[in-house]
Structure formats: C-alpha cells, structure tokens
C-alpha cells in the first residue's frame, strides 16, 4: 500500500475521460479500483457521492487536505465491483441502493438486504437491465437486540405529524433507546429514470423537486453541472441573484427548524415566532421572484427572473426588522432553562463519527466538521463575500440549533452584502445544444448537494445523478439517539432534519 499519495496522483493511474468538467474523471480497471478502495482505508479522502450506470460504477471523491475533487469510474461489464463499503460504512446504503436500482453487485457489501426496493415496483433493477417481478413485497429483516425487558416500538411510515414517511424501529429498555434502525425508500420516485432522455429545461424542473425544501440548492447544482458540461459563461448578476435566493432558502429553513426543534420540546411559542419569520421570507420571495419557495427560479444559463428596484428596497427593509425579531427570539431560547435542559446533552453525535461519515451541514458543523461548499470548492459570488462558517464541538441538539442560529446571522449579513454589491447587467445566457459531462457541488441548508450530469449532442440528459446530504446524516441519527429516552426522539430527529425525499430519490 502506498504512503501519502494525493487523490489526483493516485487516480492518474487510470485513464482520464475527455470532456468532464470542471473536475477530472478517471476510468480505473478492476485492479486499480480495488487498490483505490484499499487506499481509502488509510486515506482521509471523502466520498461525495456514489452512483452507477448499467455497466459502470462511479464515485466522486475529495482529497480532504488538498480539497481536490475527482470522479473515479470503473466499467464493470460483469455487473459487480469491489465495494467501497468494505472500508467506508457511509457507502453501505449507497451501495445497497446501487444494487437495487442498477443491479450491480457490490462485492464485500455486508448488508445484503435491499434498501430502496421494497418489492413493490413490479420490476427489478429498473435502471439497469429491468426484469419484470411479480410477487409479494419484501419482508424486511430488522436487526435485533436481545435481552431481558427489551421491547420494540415500530413507528411509521405514516407519522403523527406533518412530516415525510419513513419507518423507525426502536428497541427500548424501559424508556431508553437501545437501538434505532431506520427503513427508508418510501418516497422513492425513480427520479434518475425520469431524468434520462429529458431536455435540459424539463430536467431542471424535476431536479428542483428532488427535495422541495432545497429547491434552490438542487436547481443551482443542476444548472452549474450543465453549465460546466457545456462551457456556458453565466452573466455576473445571475451569480449574485442565485446566491441571494440560496441564502433566502437557508434563512427560511433554518428559522423554521429552530422553531420546530423547540416545539418538539413542548415550547410552542418559538414555533409560532419562527413560523412568522419564515412567512416574512416566503412573502418576500413571492414579491421579488414570483414563487414562495423559489421553485424554477434558478435555471441553466442564469436565473428566470431579475430583481426589480422595488424588490431590492423591500428586501433591505425586511432584513432590518427580521434581525431584531430573530435576536429577541434567540434571547428567549437562551433564557429559558427548562428548554435548554431538554436540548443540552441530548442526541450527542461524536466528532469522530461525523468525520467518518463525511456529514455536512449543521449535523457536521455541530460535531467539529466545518466543511462548506461555499468555501471549498467555492463558487461565485462567495469568493467576493465575507462570511464565516460556525463550528461547534458539543455535538448535541443544542449545538445543532446554535449552528443554525449563527448561520441565520451569517446569511443575513451575506444578503446585506449581496444587495449592496450586486452588479447590473443581463441575468441569463443561452444554453447551447451539445454534449458533455459536468458536476457541481453547492451548499444547501442541510449541507452539500451534488449533481452529476451527462448530456447528449442533442442537448438532452443522458444520465443525471442528484445526491442529497442526508445520505451521510441519516445513519448518524441512529447513533445519536442511542441511550436517549424515546420521548427525546422527535427532538433529536428534528435537530437532524434529514430529507426523506432527497434521500429516497
């Protein structure tokens, strides 16, 4: 095994694929792929995403020290590949999904249970070589926990609140959670299958609906991937408007999460307060850009609507007022010991696990992992903006809430700067019809959203893979809840706020 080899040095043993932008893609033979997996056992390369095609497996990697990003691909005509999950547990669910969707067998994958495939699609390997499958839905074998006085609590897929569907299987000893196991995939919509063959504009609409709360982040990642593939130069003002929308999305989600976390600790007034603040943002979105959640506003080539002069004033006014109200609510949180008592020390996630799984967003940042795509790899206009990434070490519900509080403040300052510095000019460039491959990573409110795309010469999507940050956060929720009481689960779950739809795809 090699010593301190960098990611790019290592991958250059493979064949570089032409026309993949802005980062290189290398095709590795079986031996080199296997050596890469072995190298990953000792290197700190991050997995950004792993996906497949009918006879090829891809993984997007980042060399954590150098920050270099690259895609490693391995053609596998025999439908099997050396599993990454042997050395990286964060890849286990990704590889279970890959086997379900494309029919590629990850050799060495310990968990042989299907993941997204519940046996209800009427077809197996829908994205590989599909085969009709009739028969009964799979009976899922949950992991067991045995001991005197242990009992099980099954929850879901339909939950008690207004939230997305998923199944949680608790093993509890009295009130204490001994093991939580998640079963997801209920909202799998077959997005990758739908994207294949779609014109770019239509695909953008679909990718913008992978996870509705992150529609700006997804639309932005898709647009940037397409623009990278085609070499499209986006006008300067469009970059700034995109950042404005992205920060509005971050604000709206964070304030609502803060309220909802407190609500799950039976402190409902914070939810009311934050719900009002969120409403102010959504109304400003509607007034400035014509959609409360900003769906379909970021498009390949630029943005769909410009910000009018009145919109600029309305936003500037909104922000002053917003900051005051927000700070008051945070003071309320800070000065309510009964609430702090619920959030402090609850749902602890050790930093080592956050690093091992490459968790991003507030989940990572509350456990010492301060990765943010706006800083690295970075994209315009953030290189011209002044902002800091809050990082805490406590790893509990309180820390995840406080990271959000600081990010709200940072976003408010960012919006201030954006409004002051935004250049004038056109807001969209034409998108030519030609082929290419591109990838983009952007920072959504939950963490890094990645989109990879291959376009045909006719300008249609051949394949597209959107990756949600929740893939690397969901498994950590299972760890964070262990040893807590069942009644704290809603609180801990909300502090993670993982996306079901983004994960299930």
């Amino acid at each position: 095994m090699m010593g301190n080899v960098t990611l790019l040095e290592f991958l250059s043993a493979g064949r570089e694929v032409a026309g993949h932008h802005p980062w290189p893609r290398f095709q590795l033979d079986a031996r080199t792929w296997r050596r890469m997996v072995e190298q990953m056992a000792v290197s700190n390369w991050d997995i950004l995403a792993e996906w497949a095609e009918p006879t090829e497996i891809h993984v997007a990697l980042r060399g954590e020290d150098s920050g270099a990003i690259a895609v490693a691909s391995h053609p596998c005509p025999d439908h099997k590949f050396f599993a990454l999950s042997r050395v990286r547990p964060s890849a286990i669910r990704l590889e279970r999904a890959i086997r379900d969707l494309w029919g590629l067998a990850p050799e060495g994958l310990e968990d042989q249970r299907p993941w997204l495939d519940h046996g209800r699609w009427g077809v197996k390997r829908p994205l590989g070589s599909p085969r009709i499958s009739e028969g009964r839905p799979h009976a899922y074998r949950f992991l067991t926990a045995e001991g005197e006085g242990l009992h099980q609590i099954p929850v879901g897929p339909v939950h008690a609140g207004i939230i997305e569907p998923g199944h949680f299987r608790f093993h509890a000893q009295g009130e204490t959670v001994v093991r939580l196991e998640e079963r997801l995939g209920y909202v799998h919509k077959g997005v990758e299958g739908l994207l294949a063959g779609k014109p770019v504009a239509e695909a953008a609409r679909i990718v913008g609906r992978v996870s509705g709360d992150s529609t700006v982040a997804y639309a932005l990642a898709f647009a940037r991937a397409v623009e990278a593939a085609l070499g499209v130069e986006v006008p300067a003002r469009a970059h700034w408007l995109r950042a404005l929308m992205a920060e509005m999305e971050r604000l709206a989600n964070h304030v609502f999460d803060i309220g909802a976390i407190c609500n799950d600790a039976a402190f409902a007034i914070m939810l009311s307060h934050m719900g009002m603040l969120r409403e102010k943002i959504l109304r400003a979105n509607a007034a400035c850009f014509g959609h409360r959640l900003l769906m379909d506003r970021v498009v390949p080539g630029g943005v769909a609507v410009d910000l009018a002069e009145e919109g600029w004033e309305a936003l500037a006014h909104l922000l002053g007022n917003f900051r005051k109200l927000f700070n008051k609510a945070v003071a309320l949180y800070d000065n309510t010991p009964s609430l702090l008592d619920r959030t402090t020390g609850t749902g602890f996630l050790p930093a080592a696990l956050a690093h091992r799984f490459g968790a991003g967003g507030f989940v990572g940042r509350a456990s010492s992992r301060g990765v943010d795509a706006r800083k690295a790899p970075g994209y315009p206009p953030y290189d011209e903006l002044d902002f800091a990434i809050p990082v805490l070490a406590e790893g509990d519900v309180h820390a995840r809430l406080m990271v959000r509080v600081e990010e709200v403040r940072a976003s408010l300052r960012l919006i201030d700067q954006i409004l002051k510095q935004m250049p004038r000019g056109p807001v969209a460039a034409p998108v030519p019809n030609r082929g290419g491959e591109g990838m983009a990573v952007v920072e959504g409110f939950r963490g890094e959203v990645l989109v990879w795309v291959r376009l045909s010469e006719a300008g249609k999507v051949v394949r597209c893979h959107p990756h949600d940050p929740s893939w690397f956060q969901w498994p950590l929720l299972e760890a964070a809840i262990e040893g807590n009481i069942v009644a704290d689960f809603p609180l801990v779950n909300k502090s993670f706020n993982c996306s079901y739809s983004g994960h299930d795809l």
Binding site: V187, H188, K189, G193, E202, G275, R278, T336
Partner: protein
C-alpha cells in the same frame, strides 16, 4: 433580569394583538363547485363547523408539506376556522394527501384510508397529487391520489399557497356543514 423574555413577548401580543391576517378563509369558488359535484348530501350536517385532518405524505417532494405547515402558523391560523390536524387517522374526518403516490407508499395510504372512520373525505393537495405531476410515468409512481383512494377535492398548485389551501379547506368545511 426581573422579567424573563417570555413576559415581554406575551405583553406584546396582549397589547398589539395577533399576527393573524383577517379573512383568508373565503371558500374558493372553484373548490366549492368541485365539491358540490363530488359530495353526496348524506351526513353533511353531522360534523358541524369542525373538521379534523390527518395529513399523509404519499410521495411528495416535501414542498407541499412546507405550505401545509404554513397554514398552521399564526399568520394563517387554520384552527380559527375549526379545522385542525390530528395525529391519527382514527380521529380524522379528512385525509389531506400530498405527492404522486409512490408504489412504496400505496399500501400505507390505503391502510390509512381504511383506518379512517366514515363519513370521510379525501383532499388531494398539489399538482403531483392530481396525476403524478412531473413524476408521472415513473416505474416507482402509481400516479395521482385517485389511483389509490377516492378523492373528493383537489387543491392545485406546486405547491399550493397557504391561501389556496385555506380556500380549499374552508370550502370543504362549508359544504359538509351545509
């Protein structure tokens, strides 16, 4: 500090009144027409002006859920119309269903419907809930809500705005209370 911050907040609300918009509960005319077509006259009067809703995400992108949350915020305050969300289908008069129904959720939706006592109504919310929206045609998607359970009212939009949702639900309330 003598007064904890919560007392300021409460004082402010007592002095200045709530954030709730006035109105906003006018039944949507199109929704009323659709309901008149779909609803039988039976059992309408049983509920009075009160409805309990169980929300079911049957495959949504979660955008629709965000706006359903919004109708519960102090600005729209759905509860002032006697409409509230409940935790169990057994307590519900109405199922509010979002999303293209995925095959992985179809059975859960059907079982939730079966667990809801009659008389019951189903409201399909969002463009996806009508016919699958931009997810229609996928191997993983059954289609609109009506493919799995009978639908009484559809509230369009992607996602529908809180006012559209209020209009639709109050129309339902008006027609069942008739």
């Amino acid at each position: 500090m003598i007064f904890p911050p919560i007392s300021h907040l409460i004082a402010r609300h007592l002095l200045k009144g709530p954030h709730t918009i006035t109105g906003g509960g006018e039944p949507d005319a199109e929704a009323l027409r659709q309901l008149a077509e779909n609803l039988g006259v039976a059992a309408r009067h049983r509920l009075g002006r009160s409805l309990s809703i169980r929300e079911v995400d049957a495959g949504s992108c979660n955008g629709c859920e965000l706006e359903i949350h919004a109708v519960n915020n102090p600005v729209y305050d759905l509860e002032r119309f006697g409409i509230r969300f409940v935790a169990s289908p057994r307590h519900a008069d109405v199922l509010l269903v979002t999303g293209p129904v995925t095959w992985n959720m179809a059975e859960a939706l059907r079982r939730t419907y079966d667990a809801t006592p009659g008389p019951k109504w189903v409201v399909a919310l969002g463009d996806c809930a009508k016919d699958g929206g931009c997810f229609a045609g996928s191997y993983a998607v059954a289609g609109g809500v009506h493919e799995v359970v009978p639908v009484d009212l559809h509230i369009p939009g992607c996602p529908p705005s809180p006012l559209q949702i209020l209009g639709g639900l109050t129309a339902l309330l008006a027609s069942v209370a008739e």
